[in-house]
Amino acid sequence: MALEDIYTELIGEHSRNPEHKHALEGATCTLKGHNPSCGDEITLQIIVKDGKVADAAFTGVGCAISQASTDIMIDLIKGKTVEEAKTLAHKFIGMIKREITDEAELEDLDDALALQNVSNMPARVKCAVLAWHTLDDALSDTKK
């Protein structure tokens, strides 16, 4: 596994300058995600309006992979319905765990496909999926 297959330009760009890394006023849902073994910690904030993700942002600390993954995820889910966003989260986690390999099925992950190679790096899988698990939990909570 070559490093440039993991640390691609897109991931570098999102980790150095995460567009969505800020506090979000009026969030309808705030949830913390944590990898206790490495100390990665993100707080995901979402505004759900009329069943759609109207806005989302995050704060916290973590490695390039977790930061880029979170930023790309927010790009992707903004404007999607809660159900669509949850489906994307499951799809992303399935991709990283290599449970979903069908390219056509993964197509709508769009830029998040750039993280697919992390599935070849077992030590970093949890960095990539942290935000998506947090999203899944956050959206499940809002439904209740």
């Binding site: 596994m1 070559a2 490093l3 440039e4 993991i6 640390y7 330009e9 570098g12 760009e13 980790s15 150095r16 073994s37 490495c38 100390g39 990665d40 910690e41 600390v61 973590g62 490695c63 390039a64 992979i65 930061q67 790096m121 030590a123 970093r124 960095c127």
Partner: protein, 409 residues
């Protein structure tokens, strides 16, 4: 000399990601020499039986191997008698034994437990639990600017209210050796017992528990060339003798009635169930190996490596060293650092691709990282088989890190 030592460690001749491995995570666990690996094979291949039980030659032989390991360990750390050596599965279990069997019964509401902010979670979380359970107060010794323990805190917080002091001999993050003698003397004057975590010291320097005069001393075998699953608790005989058992079951009893049991003498009282005899055989072989090389030589090798690495690291403006401000007299072969703008996990992954193994994260010392204002750090830790070439490979790999993530040099 370095070649002669390297030759003994089969794993060091392997590759990682297509490159000859540079193993710099000795603070987490060390590699094992052929002599240790062979001793475990020899035990299981030629002497395996349940010790202390069978009235047949093989069991007697297994018992002898196990009890010999106890005698060798006692001599290794200069304990007065072999009964003061309790085998556990690691330092964590040894420290929990003290927390549960001593702490629970001797620390009362309103008493104080004193530990340091640089403790590994294994010498911190158990004391937190005991303090909460009995209603005692958990106090911390913080650090001076240079990373050493605050002498002011020691004076201020080690008082007659203190019933137990738990302190590491060497910090697993900062790599600084603590001056334990004055702490132990003061603790005894105040009527407190002292528990020393020797996990990061016992493989790297000569330890003398009698001279140190500590009450308990815990370490893991796997951090000193031995297999995983064998650890040691040293305890002062008079104290161990008064403590109730930790785990109950076979081999730790005298008479078992339907409603009552009397317990075996030391050390059997603290060794319930079938023990790790293969691990004990490995520990003996590791002690033999280390004594043959000598701790003077081990310390010399590690000092040479740190002296070689530090100036090279200081040349790199983006390397932030942690715990390296101290005068060099008490620095061991552990160097913690960060690379500007880059998370330690990314550093470790990039080094991994270059065949270099280091640790990244909080190294089981979250309170210390929080105290230092860090989220995480990288750690390189050296041992007797590391070479200057290893340091060169590590530093060359470090130079690539920022570029991979798209930062300028």
């Amino acid at each position: 000399m370095a070649d002669a030592i390297q030759k003994d460690f089969p794993l060091l001749h392997h590759t990682m990601n297509g490159k000859h491995i540079v193993y710099l995570d000795n603070g987490a666990t060390t590699q094992k020499p052929d002599q240790v690996i062979r001793s475990i094979c020899d035990y299981y291949g030629g002497c395996n039986a349940n010790p202390h039980r069978g009235a047949y030659a093989l069991s007697v032989e297994a018992t002898e191997i196990y009890e010999n390991a106890r005698r060798r360990t006692a001599a290794f750390i200069k304990a007065k008698r072999p009964e003061e050596i309790i085998f556990t599965k690691n330092a964590t279990e040894a420290l929990n034994l003290v927390a549960y069997s001593y702490g629970f019964h001797n620390i009362k509401k309103g008493d104080e437990i004193l530990i340091t902010i640089s403790e590994h979670h294994s010498n911190l979380v158990p004391w937190q639990a005991i303090a909460k359970h009995v209603g005692a107060k958990l106090q911390y010794i913080y650090l001076q600017e240079d990373g050493n323990l605050s002498e002011e805190d020691i004076k201020k917080k080690l008082t007659e209210r203190t019933k137990l002091v738990a302190v590491t001999q060497v910090s697993n993050v900062l790599g600084l050796k603590n001056d334990l003698k004055p702490i132990i003397e003061r603790a005894h004057k105040m009527g407190a017992v002292v528990v020393v975590d020797g996990s990061q010291s016992v493989a790297h320097m000569a330890v003398n528990v009698t001279e140190l005069d500590c009450d308990f001393f815990a370490f893991s075998g796997h951090k000193m060339l031995s297999p995983m699953g064998i650890g040691v608790l040293y305890g002062r005989y008079e104290i161990l003798d008064r403590m109730p058992p930790f785990l109950m079951g076979g081999d730790m009893i005298e008479y078992v009635q339907e409603q009552d049991t009397t317990f075996a003498e030391l050390p059997a009282k603290f060794e319930a169930g079938t023990q790790n005899v293969g691990g004990a055989a490995g520990l003996t072989a590791a002690i033999d190996y280390l004594e043959k090389v000598s701790f003077d030589r081990v310390e010399e090798i590690e000092k040479e490596l740190v002296d070689y690495a530090l100036p090279k690291l200081k040349e790199l403006p983006y390397v932030e060293l942690i715990g390296c401000d101290s005068k060099r007299h008490n620095k061991t072969g552990i160097i913690a650092f960060n690379i500007k703008d880059v998370h330690p996990h990314d550093v470790a992954s990039i080094l991994d691709a270059e065949g270099v193994a280091i640790r990244a994260g909080h190294h089981c010392a979250q309170p210390l990282h929080r105290y230092l204002g860090l989220n995480a750090s990288c750690r390189a830790s050296f041992y007797l088989y590391n070479t200057k070439e290893d340091i060169d490979r590590w530093i060359e790999a470090l130079k690539k890190v920022r570029g991979v993530l798209g930062f300028g040099a």
